[in-house]
Symmetry: D2
Subunit: 177 residues, 4 copies
């Protein structure tokens, strides 16, 4: 198992990161912090005669790193009951990559991958995080990715996730069982 | 009724815009196209000693325009089974505005507003758009906004929404009944 | 189009029935009122050596009527944010029919059918009825039935659905467009 | 903590029961197996001049037992992506009890209770069980019950839940942390 973690949060050592680090303890992983990169929103040119334009940002370099792993952990704080805008912009861009001649096997490559989701929110995430889980199921189905499991944790202030013993416990098991 | 439409799409005259224009026909509205503005992702500094930093982009000017209306229509194509990254970044920033001394009444002002959601997707939006509806319900609940109704339409290629007679029909009634 | 309506409600001329009658106006339909029949809960004997036992109630006769139609409208008041217990008992029993030698082609026959859902509730059904829609999508997917559309209406006291102009309007279009 | 388990399944020692027994190990609980009782579907007479009629079945006796506990565990196999018809009939009847002079404090009594949900299904319950979770959230919200947690387990054939180590593990923690 070769693992990439895509971090969608904007805080250093945030609750989502703490929970994720519990999950990946003992595994070798590549950590990708989206906040450290410039990722532009997609411009939907699927139906434009000239197709998508080349975009000058860090997105493609992240995709290249991602594609070297067989397992992806999407790790995002829950902002407004969804993934962060940065993570959403990152995923939105896949629509371009599916049509990008620089990534001719993108769809095939993605459809051989497994994914996990780790999300932490401050407002009843066990319930109000469920639409996010359902959205990711649709995302993974569409891309052919196998959705292997998720953890929802509760936390607001820095470090509060450490009080959510169940989430920590479950994170410890996420990749193991 | 004073209406602002927040357009989250990235295409001119896209399917979502066509459907929305059916809904607002005959009403005076202010149209805000997020794609025409620079809106940076939030940096979550809620728990930082110095709080949020001033951000130099177009976000505040859009909020000022929004606050002059009592009704907001969120109008977004469905990208990857959610709102566009741009619209998500726009909403994520509300967390900063809630704490911004330049907008001391933001929470009160928002909680007097009504909202509608119009979303168009190409992959079974009547079902796969439901997590998005549920997410917006949580968003509006949190902000105290009254969720007055939604339309989900189906369309992929430019203009295809015109084949979704039910969605057009329903859009025509959205603000009227 | 040959249509059966499965009524799950327990009231004569209830709001769900009124809304459904709007949807089927002008169509010839067979109405099946579950409340008029004795339908026992399933006893899960899938894994029992002797399999399911014959059940002496009205269930099989309803299934026979159902199978003569190509389109099924499931019409249920929303009780406790789901279909009525009677309708659930009716659907639960399908698990037996899938294994019943008296219905050797049940799965094939069901998988050629189209279905609609009409549901009326008193507590914000446009939002709180969505898990019911998602459940029916899974039910229809499992049985191979094509889910053609749904209407959620609001009403509590007898006749109140007549105030939900949008639902009535949408019901009128449900089978037509 | 005084606990009642409401078992909605129809099989002895089914997967849901096995998982639940892991959760309640070491606790004193009262087990109520709905399959052993006669519970008639509700007849919705809320708006009838004479109101609800007395029903001659075992429902009231179960409610009386339930009311003596402060914590209720709803434990149901997932049939057709929802709770069993029997459990639904049991919950549907609450609408009558809310108006039953024999239970004048039912609403108050219910609103002081805590609840857990344990559900086991054979078809991707971690995803396809989510609408059931959302439905129970609405049920508990309406009744004023505090929703303390849930476990979704996977199993089909007798005993298969024992292979879902994560669910067993999580069940062990459900009442403890």
């Amino acid at each position: 198992m070769s693992i990439a973690v895509i971090y969608g949060g904007t805080r250093e050592n945030g609750n989502t990161e703490i929970l994720t680090e519990h999950a990946i303890k003992g595994f070798q992983v590549e950590r990708i912090y989206l906040k450290d990169f410039n990722i532009l929103p997609i411009e939907d040119l699927r139906h434009d005669q000239e197709g998508f334009k080349e975009v000058h940002d860090n997105y493609n370099s992240i995709i290249k790193r991602l594609l070297t792993h067989d397992t992806i952990i999407f790790s995002t704080p829950i902002y407004w009951f969804g993934m962060t805008g940065q993570m959403k912009n990152f995923i939105d861009r896949w629509s371009q990559t599916f049509r990008d001649s620089k990534f001719p096997n993108f769809k095939n490559q993605m459809s051989s991958k497994s994914a996990f989701l780790i999300a932490v929110g401050g407002d009843n995430p066990q319930i109000k995080g469920l639409p996010l889980i359902q959205q990711f199921q649709y995302i993974f189905d569409f891309a052919g990715i196998s959705f292997e499991g998720y953890v929802l944790g509760e936390g607001n202030k820095p470090g509060e996730i450490l009080n959510d013993k169940k989430a920590l416990h479950f994170a410890n098991k996420l990749l193991n069982d």
